[in-house]
Symmetry: C2
Subunit: 285 residues, 2 copies
């Protein structure tokens, strides 16, 4: 329903809102091929072992060309597919772009209200839209590999600002320690607005090595952001983004309606290039 | 000014609108590494030889991680950098996503009004946001290589629907004829809403082979869409998108203002998860 922008969603969310607020959302982002899905698979296994119910959203905002990757993700998490305590859903951009971050936030709200303890939010790429999606997470894990490890690229991507935990995956490969060291230096040089400085963990996800440490780091981060009040301010920021997205979506609908139902007729015979889009917009907004 | 969302842009566009409408916009899209910039470089050379002034926008909506690619593009077109008849500008997503397609449309308007005969719009990737950017083109060229050539992927990406001309670049490589044949079959099987069926050209951009044919195909397409009235309907669609983007941008500004200036106070002490974002949105839009 959320993905189809079903008109009943607002009512549903309003009626479920008193049930929400218990789930924690861990986000996993990183370049393609960094092993995010394998990492998700390991985390799911760990949390299931503790008896927690896990909801996973694999979000692909960037490219319809990578459709295969999303499918691959789900295949990699397949061993959990029959487990009623695990819910896995791939979400891809359907037509309008800005909508995906909003749909993700709504889907997380519903998972939360439905009693899922842990939500895992995985993005397929590391672009601007992935950053936007990741803002819905309480704890953001940035995954890199020895191959991908260029700290300068990271800074460019604005990834550093959103990282709460760094994972150097495929840590058995040459160069892993160098990447981890570079990251630690980067973390050390950065002034953080919160008392939490992101740890840098070396992990071999396919073998399950370093997963315990990652789980502990996620819990520690969660405790730290509750204590510092940052969890609350993050969630307030998220709520603001949600409100903004709803206002924007409604305005877009209003504009599309006005432009197609005749309220705002484009003179199809006149000179289009002489039309000022701003004065047309004035008549809608 | 357009990229910075300068408040003077609307007035500027309104005052220049009577000068606009003469430039033609060719768009070039395709996967990374397909040689789009080399192709642009060749087209620029060709058009400059005819005495036309060429404005180039290289747009990268997808990933800050590919920042290097944009730079690379500009380097590849460097030989035209000193030519006053060529304007080259890289545009990347600054923060808000939806804004880039709108900025691109406005930048094209200004290039047009400033008397540039040819506009070239290049996108770096082939995702959903690139598709959105590409809708600003009068003629869309989709570039593939023997390596990238999977027709099924294309259809998934919605690329087929926007292609006016297919270029199989690096046609000296093995597999080029097969990809070209697959594309021709795909074109043949598709019902086109217009009388124009996209030609499939084999090109070796680095050697300039096939560029004359491409230039001719662009001209032919332009003549065909004028004759069929499709150019007009495309431009009307583009104007509608532009109006919609302005309405949406303004709504977003309104929402952000209300959420920060106290018009719409989030009760920072209350239970955030119990707040219904839809009723907050009601109070803004």
């Amino acid at each position: 329903m959320v993905e189809d922008r079903d008109p009943e969603v607002p009512g549903l969310i309003a009626s479920l809102r008193h049930r929400a607020g218990r789930a924690t959302v861990a986000g996993i982002t990183g370049p393609p091929g960094s092993g995010k899905s394998t990492l998700c698979d390991q985390l799911i296994g760990h949390w299931r072992g503790r008896g927690e119910r896990v909801g996973v959203l694999a979000v692909d905002p960037s490219s319809p060309f990578s459709g295969g990757a999303v499918l691959g993700d789900r295949v990699r998490m397949q061993r959990h597919a029959g487990d009623p305590g695990v819910f896995i859903r791939s979400m891809a951009s359907r037509g309008h772009l800005g909508g995906l971050a909003a749909s993700t936030r709504e889907a997380l709200r519903l998972l939360d209200a439905a009693g899922w303890d842990r939500c895992l939010l995985e993005t397929v790429g590391v672009g601007q839209s992935e950053l936007e999606v990741m803002r819905a997470a309480d704890t953001t894990i940035v995954v890199l590999t020895p191959a991908a490890g260029d700290a300068v690229q990271l800074m460019k991507a604005g990834i550093l600002e959103i990282a709460d935990i760094f994972v150097v995956n495929k840590a058995e490969q040459p160069g892993a320690s160098r990447v981890a060291r570079e990251l630690r230096e980067l973390v050390h040089q950065t002034r953080w607005s919160s008392p939490w400085a992101p740890p840098v963990l070396q992990v071999v996800a396919v073998r399950g090595e370093g997963i315990d440490e990652l789980v502990t780091a996620i819990d520690n981060h969660h405790d730290a952001v509750i204590a510092s009040g940052e969890l609350r301010s993050r969630r307030a920021r998220r709520l603001r983004a949600e409100v903004e997205a709803i206002v924007v979506e409604r305005a877009g609908e209003r504009a599309r309606r006005a432009l197609t139902d005749g309220t705002l007729e484009l003179d199809d015979e006149g000179e289009l290039s002489a039309v000022d889009p701003y004065s047309l917009a004035d008549r809608i907004s």
